[in-house]
Symmetry: C2
Subunit: 528 residues, 2 copies
């Protein structure tokens, strides 16, 4: 009866994107359905199709008697298509150049014979030629000098590519990672739209540097004095502002840049990163928040599986051994581990939930394994998280790494805004919070119920060594506005934050988070 | 033949969001189709439905003999629903409080009779009660003291609301504007997904402050020296980075925070704002870029029209006069003007395109009207833009304000990266660029073809007084990486940037851009 009223996605008119002079085009495709090389690759027509145009970049050129085989990409697919160009036309077709080619799209089995016999010069490829473009006209739209071009058509370490971040997006792996990021962003937007969460834009420049989430960058303008009267900071988390918006709109979310001025030089840390945060009003049970996190990740991974970038990454890792190593990252996780990660994300099971106290009890009998002794009241170390994630989350029957929730940590070691648990264990007071842990990476997300009562929140600020602001005396520590939210109609509420870049790193198996963002910023590095 | 291959949207599994203990619920709605008060409002069942639960905030309370009429909102709709509560249950139902109510959803015509005779105390409403909730159980989830609550259920000026940005999102107008923003974000994401543009996350912290787009904020961390070795800035435009990504991925876009440390204290300027930028590779005609901008705005406005927030804003403005003024902003544009704006966005016509030179020729005969004389070679003043937008863009037959493109401005007054026109007029060298102008606001978007040839770009930098970086000598002015993009395979390309907040302001008729963002930042103001 009510099903028809279920959440509606945005509707939009049908339209055909007009054809550009420089684009992929194919005669008869009046609707513009074939727009990119990726579309063309999927169009394996039994007949020859002449007057096909493609625009793209030359990834490599192989010489043969009388002809050149050029691999062409426009960034829409991990693997290029092959263009067969007569020697007389091919003099300016060099690796790195931008070209427009006109020719016939046809089955390439015939040419393949020649290819096998061809001499490899500038590069080699083991890609089987399925369809290829028999070129009859060439325009060089942007020339290139392969002698100086920093992108080589051979294996370059992620580390060396990081020194040329303005160019490395052109590599097969980096460009596919960026398309994967784009797909993930679109799918998350769609997920939250359907769940009737409002997407918000909390501020980047903020007044508080005292949320305990890490060291903040300061923001200044030229001239005397402060542009904004007081010192201002780059946001370390949008949560406090999201709480304000949740009290107006109900359920809200954001995917927002977030900043930490920390000197950590690890593969998991960036000074600028994308944080996905969601906040729900009218929630009285933290299970609802954890359910949302799992539902979101299930929806995301199910959606990604159906799109090109994820398919290509999977295809690439499955036969990485037999394929050209140049496409893979040296430090990519194995196909087996990635399969387990995806199986865990897409499981129908509810992910394991155990309390911090239970976790400590699990760790203590095997304390010898660890450098740091597991003690109730202290934070979980990375080695502890890793053990728990692998022990509790391993679902052998389904070959899956289930992410696990660790809940109700001791109050003293968690943020001031978290709600006191009503059912604390004998060891001490806990708060209603959770960390979402995954093997190999550790913390993927963290969330909590928020303290919605004013006296309790003030008490918690004192406990955490924060000055309780006088609401009518500005500048005490700039959290007066946050306490205001508790003065008038603050319902039980909660939410979570998830490191978007870490998630992409986890799902793609790219172990260094610096390789899933286009222009990484970290201590001493901010190129471009 | 190819239509079936047209762009595919992301697909996702059907799922029912699990019911939360605190939410809107109605018996029999096993699929969770009714999730918010907005959903419930649309469910005007002919029968009474008992055991309906709603959670929300009390907007106002009216007293009558024996009963209280409370307006309840959960932020999902501009107008509340009415709850009828027996006096004995209603003692803690106060404006501002968060409540959970259980009762019967029924036609309210009967109660309406009583209402007409009721004495108005805390507020009044002219909203016709259609369905209402006959309450039998009340939980106060978050109490409120209406004596101190800064949000009044009467007209408050936008200016006074700006002093309480952490609370003002709770007002009917501000919350609807935020939902409108959320809808627009989702629709734009969908549009670009369908057009196969990759959504990217260009960096916020950047190395260059010399793009000529405006004064930049600097970013610093505690401790000695520079965190990133050199001085760094908050981005003033993501365009240069987008060009790098477009050379890898083809077509790219972003909706990204952008910053200007300008002391302009006008209704159109913010120090932090959202900029939508798109960049297309393989474009040799600026018409393609302008077509994209129009197609995007058509798709956006067509989509918005079908969603609640835009419908509510339209409904609100249509009968603003007879409805309670408290819902409208003092400085809201008239319904007539808004109708013309939307008609212009949704027209089937191609928006007018005229060159800067033609514009100057149009302005010169009526020069007396202006404070500043229109002279070829000087920028267009705001008064000129306004005149042109109203004169050229006015489509009387369709009661529409068509946005207009002014193209090919003089090279000296435009940015260094713009492509020289091949067909400059006698008056002087122009560049292939455009401004998109709308009446009442001026510039909504700006774009150009980019200079893709290295020698010409270097020449342009010199002309604009910029030092040409030595690519192998870091630090000269940090644009060396941008020149690199021209060294290897740079095809003709172009793109545009659009002020997202200004667009929302234009479409909603909210004249001050500070009222369409949740937490405005501008000179001397950065609250919360």
């Amino acid at each position: 009866m009510f099903a028809a009223r279920a959440l509606r996605g945005p509707r939009w008119q049908r339209y055909a994107a007009p054809r550009r002079a420089y684009s992929v085009s194919i005669p008869g495709d009046s609707h513009g359905g074939i727009k990119t090389i990726a579309d063309l690759k999927e169009f394996q027509s039994p007949q020859h199709v002449s007057d096909v145009q493609i625009c793209g970049w030359v990834r490599s050129v192989r010489k043969s008697a009388g002809v050149r085989f050029a691999d062409i990409t426009d960034g829409s697919s991990m693997r290029p298509i092959q263009a067969v160009v007569d020697k007389s036309l091919a003099s300016d077709i060099r690796p790195g150049s931008a070209v427009r080619l006109l020719g016939t799209w046809k089955d390439g089995s015939e040419a393949k014979q020649n290819q096998a016999a061809s001499s490899t010069e500038e590069s080699s490829s083991t890609e089987p030629a399925v369809h290829e473009l028999q070129v009859r006209h060439v325009d060089i739209l942007g020339p290139s000098n392969p002698q100086t071009y920093p992108i080589q058509n051979k294996y370059q370490t992620p580390e060396s590519l990081r020194t040329i971040s303005h160019l490395r997006s052109r590599t097969p792996m980096n460009s596919t990672l960026l398309r994967f990021r784009s797909d993930a962003t679109a799918l998350l937007t769609q997920f939250f739209f359907r769940e009737q969460f409002q997407q918000t834009h909390p501020p980047i420049i903020t007044s508080s540097d005292c949320e305990g989430a890490g060291e903040a960058f300061t923001v200044q303008a030229g001239g005397k004095g402060h542009f904004f009267r007081d010192p201002k900071y780059l946001t370390v988390s949008t949560q406090l502002h999201l709480e304000s918006l949740a009290q107006a709109l109900g359920d809200v979310w954001t995917l927002s840049p977030t900043f930490r001025a920390e000197k950590s030089d690890t593969s998991r840390h960036l000074s600028e990163f994308q944080m996905l945060e969601a906040e729900m009003s009218f929630v009285n049970n933290m299970d609802d928040v954890m359910n949302l996190a799992q539902r979101m990740l299930l929806s995301l991974t199910t959606g990604l599986k159906q799109l090109r970038a994820a398919k290509e990454l999977e295809h690439n890792r499955v036969d990485a051994k037999e394929r050209a190593e140049k496409l893979a990252f040296e430090d990519l996780e194995s196909a087996e581990i990635l399969t387990r990660r995806w199986n865990g994300m897409m499981t129908a099971k509810t992910w394991p939930r155990l309390t911090y106290t239970e976790a400590i009890e699990m760790l203590q009998p095997v304390a010898d394994q660890f450098e740091h002794k597991p003690v109730w009241g202290a934070g979980l170390q990375s080695e502890h998280e890793k053990y728990l994630a692998e022990k509790v989350g391993w679902d052998e029957a389904n070959n899956a790494y289930l992410p696990i929730f660790i809940t109700q940590y001791p109050r003293e070691i968690k943020a001031f805004y978290m709600l006191k648990s009503v059912d604390s264990p004998a060891q001490g007071q806990t708060v209603d919070c959770f960390d979402l842990l995954v093997p190999g990476l550790g913390e993927l997300a963290g969330g909590s119920m928020r303290e919605n009562r004013l006296p309790e929140l003030e008490e918690s600020m004192r406990l955490h060594g924060l000055a309780v602001p006088n609401p009518r005396q500005p500048g005490s520590n700039n959290l007066g506005w946050y306490l205001d939210l508790r003065r008038w109609g603050c319902p039980p509420h909660g939410g979570f934050g998830l490191g978007f870049d870490r998630l992409l790193s986890y799902l793609t198996g790219v172990t260094n988070v610096r390789d899933v963002v286009p222009f990484p910023r970290h201590f001493e590095r901010c190129d471009c």
